[in-house]
Amino acid sequence: MTTAGAVAGDPRALLPPDAPVRLLDDEGGLHEADAFPLDLKDADLVALYRFMVLARRVDRQAINLQRQGQLGVYASLLGQEAAQVGPAYALGDPDWVFPSYREMGAALVRGIDPAAILHMFRGTWLAGHDPYDANFALLSIPIGTQALHAAGFAMAAKLDGAGLVAMSFFGDGATSEGDTHEALNFAAVFDAPCVFWVQNNQYAISVPLSLQTRAPTIAHKAVGYGMPGYRCDGNDVLATYAVARRAVDRARRGGGPSLVEAVTYRMEAHTTADDPSRYRTETELGEWRAKDPIARYETFLRREGLLDDALSEEVEQEARELVARVRGEIYDAPHGDPLELFEHVYVEPGPHYDEQRRQLRRELDGAGEA
């Protein structure tokens, strides 16, 4: 019986391989995989390290700023540096990132000023950067929603004949939202050059993966959309890079979207407002600490002779400067003009807005008098 929707080709080909792609072993030894060639020069290898370290240092600074009352809240990426830096590094300049709220690492790679990200967490404004500056969309807070923006952007790019790729970042929890499903499906149906990058950090706030899905792995979800699903060790930056690279190249060549699961762990609280002691054990945390993405990669680089103490100190120095600058920009950053609240809602606001602006001005004047 041939019918529309009958099996085309061998669906087994869609199943992700059993084990996550891993290029670095626990001791930092490199084992290349044919299917995921590494095309990185020494400078690139060092750059990956640099971005991971910078991300971690900025992240720590952000947590401190929050503790000091300078940020309202902050969502740490500790432990997920490789899961963000690898894929972001696999993108080219014209490509776009559609991040969630935890993507400081990806932001850094794209050249976004970390202070811009922190302005959102501080509440200086609702977002801190111009997405068109570095092709990095605004951080998206409603879970899964940005995957649809990525799919639409990629549909547009394809329509326009642009050879660019849109990469959407989201978490394991986000895979449960209807929007994520619709995004995967739209991207597949329209052959959109889109990569769905899932950081499976094992938790959605307190909810563990086992309560989130019964899929064998998140990568298996790709089967239902007829797209490839890849799975990689999210704490191995060479693996995240190589797998992302393959997915990105495929999309750029017109091969359509894919779904990648980077298996990792959130070593910090969900956000600074969270208390992880309520839902996870020190033992579990300890196991993952032992898989630290930066430590493992550092061993590799040192082994390869690509990193020595001098270079390490150079990166630390850069990190210190960056962190100091970020701290300087955020600490006691002015709150901005309340009248700006009416500026950006519409390109063409109604007359109503003039009244409201006048009312606020009156209130401000009144408060000034008091």
Binding site: F98, W125, L126, A127, D130, P131, Y132, A137, L138, S140, P142, T145, A147, L148, H149, A150, A151, G152, F153, A154, M155, A156, A157, L159, D160, A166, G178, D179, E182, A183, N185, F186, V189, E343, H344, V345, Y346, V347, E348, P349, G350, P351, H352
Partner: protein, 323 residues
């Protein structure tokens, strides 16, 4: 030439696509089928399946991808098949479409039009006759356009597609087949301008969408009673042209807001509250609201009991005059 509202909308889409390559039209069944109301008829044939295309059955997907396409630089005009099927897209409309420009400090503009065939009166099954405007009017960042006649449907849809701000475009589906003598293309006032569609002195009927015609008919019928009703067609709910409404009420001293949606917490409440604020000393009677009952949309065989009609409008006018 006598043009139906459906033809006017179809022509507006056609002309907008002709005028600007970045305009793309998509949604469920808008391609080969031309939409269940044929508003997109022949657009795929004329502009190809890259500019007018069908999507998977997922409204959040439709609006969410439209946001992405607009970020890229396209001007998507998407169709929600029926009012009641807009609700799955509520989050994308409310949290992103309406707010992204503000969030981005004006760096991201989203020139998206969400077309929604609205309202009842066509004997449909449930979820096909909703008046969802109040779900959107309290969301800053959206422009809400609600034409009542073919000419406005054409001109305001063209304006909506040219708008840099996102527009929720409410099409009164029971008026799709109503005709007006028109030579398209036409121009009209920009989004945000109400129109005194019929001058009068006894009282002001403030209305929009499907009820424009009902109010004009009521005004005709009212002449028998010796009442000379003014009819203000809002045309746009957000931004609301309060001045035109208040000017009218200042002249007539009486206002009735007429819409198809339920009265409780309907958009009429906003109009009534504003008129109450701005025309306090002019009002000879409270602003009365005429609409549907505060119940879920009824089954087809009972909908005419639910929907406001000429009689209900005139009853309310009488009530107003009794003050």
């Amino acid at each position: 030439m006598a043009v139906t509202m459906a033809q006017a909308l179809n022509t507006a889409l056609h002309d907008a696509m002709e005028a600007d390559d970045r305009v793309v039209v998509y949604g469920e069944d808008v391609g080969m089928l031309g939409g269940v109301f044929r508003i997109t008829d022949k657009l795929q044939e004329r502009f190809g399946a890259t500019r007018c295309f069908d999507t998977p059955l997922a409204e959040s997907g439709i609006v969410g991808t439209a946001i992405g396409m607009a970020m890229y630089g396209y001007r998507p005009v998407v169709e929600m098949q029926f009012d009641g099927f807009t609700y799955p897209a509520f989050e994308q409309i409310t949290s992103h479409l309406a707010k992204m420009r503000n969030r981005s400090r004006g760096t991201v503009t989203l020139p998206v039009v969400v077309r929604i065939p609205c309202g009842g009166g066509i004997g449909a099954v449930e979820h096909h006759s909703e008046s969802p405007e109040s779900y959107f009017t309290s969301t800053a960042g959206l422009r809400i356009v609600a034409p009542g006649v073919p000419g406005d449907a054409y001109a305001l849809l063209r304006r909506a597609i040219e708008s840099a701000d996102p527009v929720v475009f409410l099409e009164p589906k029971r008026r799709y087949w109503a005709k007006e003598d028109l030579d398209l293309p036409i121009e009209t006032a920009p989004i945000g301008r109400a129109l005194v569609r019929r001058p009068g002195r006894t009282a002001t009927l403030v209305t929009y969408g499907s009820m424009v015609r009902t109010c004009l008919e009521a005004a005709e019928a009212a002449q028998q009673e010796g009442w000379d009703l003014e009819v203000v067609d809002l045309r746009t709910l957000v931004p609301l042209d309060t001045d035109t409404v208040v000017d009218s009420v200042a002249r007539t001293g009486r206002a009735l807001v007429v819409h198809e949606a339920q009265v409780f917490a309907g958009f009429g409440a906003e109009v009534a509250a504003r008129v109450g604020e701005r025309a306090f000393y002019h009002l000879e009677a409270p602003v009365l609201r005429v609409g549907a009952y505060d119940i879920p949309y009824p089954p087809a065989k009972l909908e005419h009991y639910h929907l406001p009609d000429v009689d209900r409008v005139l009853d309310a006018v009488e009530q107003s005059l009794e003050y």
